[in-house]
Assembly symmetry: C2
């Protein structure tokens, strides 16, 4: 089946967690909104599903995935669906629930990272909430960043399979997502991240192991990978790390 991914065409954002899964599995997919409008792409292709009154089960927001007649929204839910189909999830129900639990914790982490630069409202520019962003970022870097990174380091440490992955003995979609978190944090908060990496050897090793996967490496070097930029979830505003 050819999957259709719908996400904002100019940022990595939450769509990137789905892109990484599709790329690692060499899945047949189209990143629809990144196609030119004359080929049915652009933001209009995405808005159609959000606004069309004929969409019987409308997503609240991108990303969403079209898989045949199914339209699936919410990043973690898309991965819950794709995981077993792309060979990125373990077999048993208990292991799959644990994997999904980790993905939902990653989603919470992403929300908190987003809110470091948008603590007041997504509808305001960063410049209009800069003082609040400063305050939130200081506490995020002091309290939340170490807590989240420490948590995932602990999860890696307690995985009895000792293969360096989060769940059981093979890579899953959560490993790909955690790789993306480390990438994004290095871009957004380089100093704090470098400092914390020294104490999180397993997390760094996981990042490097994902980056070295041939399909991921090819994707990262391709034009399909949108560079980090100041419109995405991970933003580099040096003043927030001062």
């Amino acid at each position: 089946m050819r999957y259709e991914l719908y996400y904002w065409p100019e940022i990595q954002g939450r769509g990137e967690f789905v892109r990484l899964a599709l790329e690692e599995a060499a899945a047949d997919y189209v990143d629809v909104a990144r196609l030119p409008a004359r080929r049915g792409g652009g933001v209009a292709a995405l808005m159609r599903f959000l606004e069309d009154e004929k969409t019987s089960r409308p997503p609240f927001a991108p990303p969403f995935l079209k898989a045949g007649r199914l339209l699936i929204g919410q990043t973690a839910n898309v991965l819950l669906y794709l995981g077993p189909r792309l060979g990125l999830a373990p077999r048993g129900e208990a292991d799959r629930l644990w994997l999904h639990q980790l993905q939902l914790t990653i989603a919470d982490f992403v929300d908190e990272i987003h809110d470091t630069h948008h603590p007041i409202a997504g509808s305001l520019y960063y410049e209009d909430q800069k003082a609040e962003a400063q305050r939130r970022s200081t506490l995020f870097l002091r309290e939340r960043l170490p807590k989240f990174l420490g948590y995932f380091e602990t999860v890696l440490e307690r995985n009895r399979r000792r293969a360096g992955w989060l769940v059981c003995g093979s890579r899953t979609y959560a490993d790909l997502s955690l790789f993306q978190i480390v990438e994004g944090l290095r871009y957004a908060f380089p100093k704090s991240t470098a400092r914390l990496e020294r104490k999180h050897a397993r997390l760094v090793a996981l990042h490097d192991r994902v980056a070295a996967r041939p399909n991921v490496a090819a994707y990262l070097a391709s034009e399909r990978r949108i560079p980090f930029n100041p419109q995405g979830i991970f933003r580099h505003y040096p003043e927030l790390e001062a």
Copy 2:
């Protein structure tokens, strides 16, 4: 099986979404942290799982559910597990994904509601982020509250089964959660919620239908239901709605 729920004993919080599912289904469960310490309850019972190095798959935060040897964290993930077992989820995979997608959107909504009074950090008192809370709440009430409520009204409207539930023809865990959202909003933002309810008849009807379920009604009237209070996710600070 007797389920063990672990959640902070003095607030409804995110645990309430799980409590409502267990209560509606008349499941055999213990709300462990609400038991007295001499019977193995209290906050210590909960912290044990978060802090014990022997927990091989530690939750990041409450609520979590112990089901036999399984320990399941993340509210939506707990409901994903319980849904089919408690008769609170439809049968087909497509319908279950849609249900889970709605639950994850409710989770996002809950996060935004929480951040109206804690836009800077969960570790600070409300009093120490009052100015920022005022600013965030104003925009939340103007932009996000109507958007979320409008979304769920649309979902109800487009459900072809016309039974008044979110997914297919029977009540699911997401209906119970949406009931709780309406309850909480009435407590936290009574004026804005009353105003919006006039335009969201399906949502109000769903709320009333859930409240009238015999098991839910018995629960709400019991001492098991913790009252709303100024420590929970839904907080009534009149100045935020001024």
